[in-house]
Homo-oligomer: 328 residues x 2
């Protein structure tokens, strides 16, 4: 069995109107055969957070939903909780405080069971705090702002489901370019991954490469600092950092990115339906014309008339361009 | 006479406590010989905006300050106003609404006089609206947000003092990564330049290259879209854009960047004063040791003792690391 997918969700995923991301998760967990374990430990809310996800996942067709809620490191040594992860076909970590989640599960048999389940094929999803904890290096705290400043954020250790990376969330909505740039400036061996709200980075292994695809309403921003020039080792407290040569990829839904080679996979351009209809029509006209010519050997005068007629008909039937399209 | 410098100020420059940027401008305009023309046309304020800059520039040592305030395109044909620009040693454009400034001066003899003055050596500075109008392509409107979205901003024509570029301001403070990324995605021949508040990009021509240096408290962000892959030509209204492979440079005070080759100029690393003092002390000790050895041919035992003594003395006198430094 290949390793299971990771779903790294930027928080505030749509739960009712268009639950694209949660649907994707239930499908990846086996659809009507899905047995989902919810880990709500990051959350400061009570049982209601489990009740919400329980209702949502069942509504989206999952067969079973169980809670796995350690509240102490002692709880995370309970073999019964670990067994629930092992038996699940999908594991979902809620939002909240990623340091709380990490403080309670990291380095325990429960975290080992989660990593082992993923290696055996189980899809792991997490939103907000549950997204950040998936990377090897985890954003712990930090303020907003586009410009990276010394010490504007701190790093702790994550679960390492995604190695050599640091994941940030609510990325557009909370203006977190600066803090992710600060981290990759100080740790240029990491890839920075910033996920917008109601958006997921889905990572799957294909031919030994980690391939990320984007699902949802926003975008995933990737910072590749391989060739960075920085003064992060000497800049004073709170001063802006030099971060020159960072390669930025902003990836909306449908984009595919090879995390192993750090390159965009070929983009399939959209086809304008109006233009496609026009070309199809023109193709039919020309084929008809060719058949006519082959059948009765038209004179040059008749040929000119037919081409003129074809052109007139074409412009009369051309579909108007999509009013929402980029060009007129 | 070489072309004059451009000072592209991101708005909200410090005027009283540490007026680094305004000082830099007065010095570039000739210091005590400076004759400064202030263009407040972008501003919605009355005479007080001129009064403030008049008082500031005189306090910083300028010999003379005159207002050049066209309020209609007709005014911008007044030869007397143009003459004030020609006679100035520095021209300063205030903040406000860059479309208003552009609507009143672009394509008039006044704008020609400004461009000609810069070509003849006059420094041109502008803050906020007065910064944006300096580029060939000018941000006209637009909302905040880190993720570029289709149609989140519009472009109008700027004065073109800086060709092949688009300048944005209040860059960190108003979260304008998204709108500048949208513009360079649609116009990958432009270089995107985002300037933080109380920060200036100073552009001067050296050996035929436009060299930008950074002055002030924040940073200047450069987006180089030379190798961008984008769907900006087909993305639907308000959806996030694909913008993959944009090279980002975040440049704090002291950075120098070649706009012509789009490369960072060599960075001079800061010297830690504690480390420098330790090395100087060690150097003195070792030179003394060498003199002693040369003078009386010490025995191996004495030599070992002296080295041990030197090492002890060195660790006792090592300066503690700077408490504000990056490392402990």
């Amino acid at each position: 069995m290949p390793r299971g997918p990771l779903m790294i969700i930027g928080g505030a995923e749509d739960k009712l109107r268009r639950p694209t991301i949660l649907k994707h998760f239930v499908a990846a967990a086996g659809g009507e055969n899905a047995r989902i374990a919810v880990i709500p430990t990051a959350s400061s809310l009570g049982p209601e957070v489990v009740e919400v996800y329980d209702a949502l996942f069942r509504k989206l067709g999952a067969a079973d939903v169980v809670a796995v809620r350690p509240e102490t490191r002692e709880d995370s040594h309970d073999p019964d909780l670990a067994r629930r992860l092992t038996e699940a076909t999908g594991i979902f970590m809620t939002g909240g405080n990623q340091l709380k989640l990490s403080a309670i599960i990291s380095g325990t048999p429960l975290a080992d069971a989660l990593v082992t389940a993923n290696e055996a094929g189980t899809v792991i999803a997490g939103t907000s705090a549950g997204a950040s904890i998936q990377s090897s290096h985890m954003v712990a705290f930090g303020g907003p702002g586009s410009t990276p400043k010394q010490r504007m954020t701190q790093v702790a250790a994550g679960l390492g489901l995604l190695q050599s990376s640091v994941i940030d969330q609510h990325f557009d909505q909370r203006n977190r370019y600066g803090r992710l740039l600060m981290i990759v400036s100080q740790s240029p061996q990491l890839l920075g991954i910033g996920v917008d709200e109601d958006t997921a980075a889905v990572v799957e292994v294909e031919d030994g490469h980690e391939i990320m695809s984007v699902v949802g309403k926003g975008a995933v921003a990737i910072f590749d600092p391989s060739r960075i020039v920085t003064n992060a080792y000497e800049a004073k407290r709170s001063s802006p950092l030099l971060a020159s040569g960072v390669v930025l990829h902003v990836l909306p839904q449908g984009s595919r990115f090879d995390l192993s080679t750090r390159t965009l996979l070929p983009h399939v351009p959209a086809v304008d339906p109006g233009e496609a209809a026009e070309m199809a029509e023109a193709g039919r006209d020309l084929r008809q014309l060719a058949r006519d010519i082959a059948a009765d050997g038209v004179s040059p005068t008749n040929l000119r008339r037919r081409i003129a007629r074809t052109t007139r008909r074409k412009s009369a039937t051309t579909t108007a361009p999509d009013p929402d399209g980029a060009s007129a």
